[in-house]
Symmetry: C2
Subunit: 220 residues, 2 copies
């Protein structure tokens, strides 16, 4: 038990916690509504009033959270990505080897893109990614390099290889049909690029891809 946890809660702590929970729930309400607006508008460019109306919150409240459509699009995408990350973490539970984790994580990500083309098209439009995704990826890349399985001088270059390749592959998948073998071929080139020995790559690709057990945010 940490020192912090032993401290007796004060009324201020309680108010802080309630405030934090209220903020999280308002934020979620805005993002769920935003997702609906983005999905419905399709080609047409939505304006900030569309989001305020859909979320059913006061204008002032809305601007406490987001200032522009661009910011909202980034937040919605980050939220969808983090929702997928939670589902991936659920499937990786018990896997401690960083290389196994990253290899299965990449394949689960591509599997999601393959079976949910609406999600795939939405996320493929993103130019930034959520912090959780970035941090998890960098951590697994660094740990894999420390274990001597990934071989690179620059973790940034390695991250750009993974994110860039998956992004282009998702753009392709949302625009046209790909053969059933496509996603594993993409994963293979990425793993090889990271310096994984070929036997290790083959073993990673032989492992069956589990079905997602955690329910994810539906896209309307």
């Amino acid at each position: 038990m940490s020192a912090k946890a032993r401290v007796k809660p004060t009324p201020t702590d309680h108010r802080t916690r309630v405030g934090r929970e209220r903020r999280a729930s308002t934020k979620r309400r805005i993002l769920e509504a935003a997702l609906g607006v983005f999905a419905e508008m399709g080609g047409a460019a939505p304006v900030i009033d569309d989001f305020i109306k859909a979320a059913g919150v006061a204008r002032g409240t809305f601007y406490n959270y987001y200032d522009s459509v661009e910011e909202l699009l980034a937040a919605t995408t980050a939220w969808l990505e983090e929702d997928l990350m939670l589902s991936i973490e659920h499937e990786l539970d018990g896997l401690t080897d960083p290389v196994d984790r990253l290899a299965l994580g990449v394949r689960l990500w591509l599997r999601k893109a393959e079976v949910d083309l609406v999600w795939c098209a939405f996320v493929a439009k993103a130019v930034t990614h959520g912090e959780v995704v970035e941090e998890t990826l960098l951590r697994d890349l660094r740990n894999g390099a420390r274990a001597g399985v990934f071989v690179f001088d620059s973790v940034q270059a390695a991250r750009d290889l993974v994110v860039g390749t998956l992004h282009e592959a998702m753009r392709r998948m949302s625009a046209s049909q790909v053969p059933a073998t496509f996603t594993d071929e993409v994963a293979r080139l990425v793993f090889r690029g990271l310096g994984m020995p070929s036997r290790r790559v083959q073993a990673a690709l032989r492992r069956p891809i589990p079905t997602f057990r955690r329910a994810m945010q539906p896209l309307r």
Copy 2:
């Protein structure tokens, strides 16, 4: 001499050729003006009238070429990329080995991004690429695979690896400083991802990068 070249030119051929040249020159005029508009507007979103005014062509003429800002942005980027490709081809002159060609081509592309950050930021915003770039890349990838140096089942996946990684690297380079070794590290991960044997990768990276001799379209 091909059969086609022996045919005597008719007045119609002449008119066709003059028409084609006039079209090419109007198109170039529109694209040069568009580049200036995109560069000047920066964050603000330009509207189609900004481009018509800058190009100094009749509205009707303009719409013969481009219909929307998006289309114009794609065309301008493709044009800049193709301008670079001409300069790269100039440096690759005499290189016939597809792997040497692609390896030096990738490094020259990254060198351009490194020394011309305005170009880098502009092209990094593109979501589509010019046909010339796509076709040249696919041809070199296929030839390299035929020669047994690149190893992949899907040329699409290999293309996504190259384009996606370079795109992310360029986004990074236009947003923040990178170490001097960054671009060659990116190239190394891409070459390895394509299946190039490590000795071949090392040899490719030891080759000096020539200076561009051909003048390129300046970005204002």
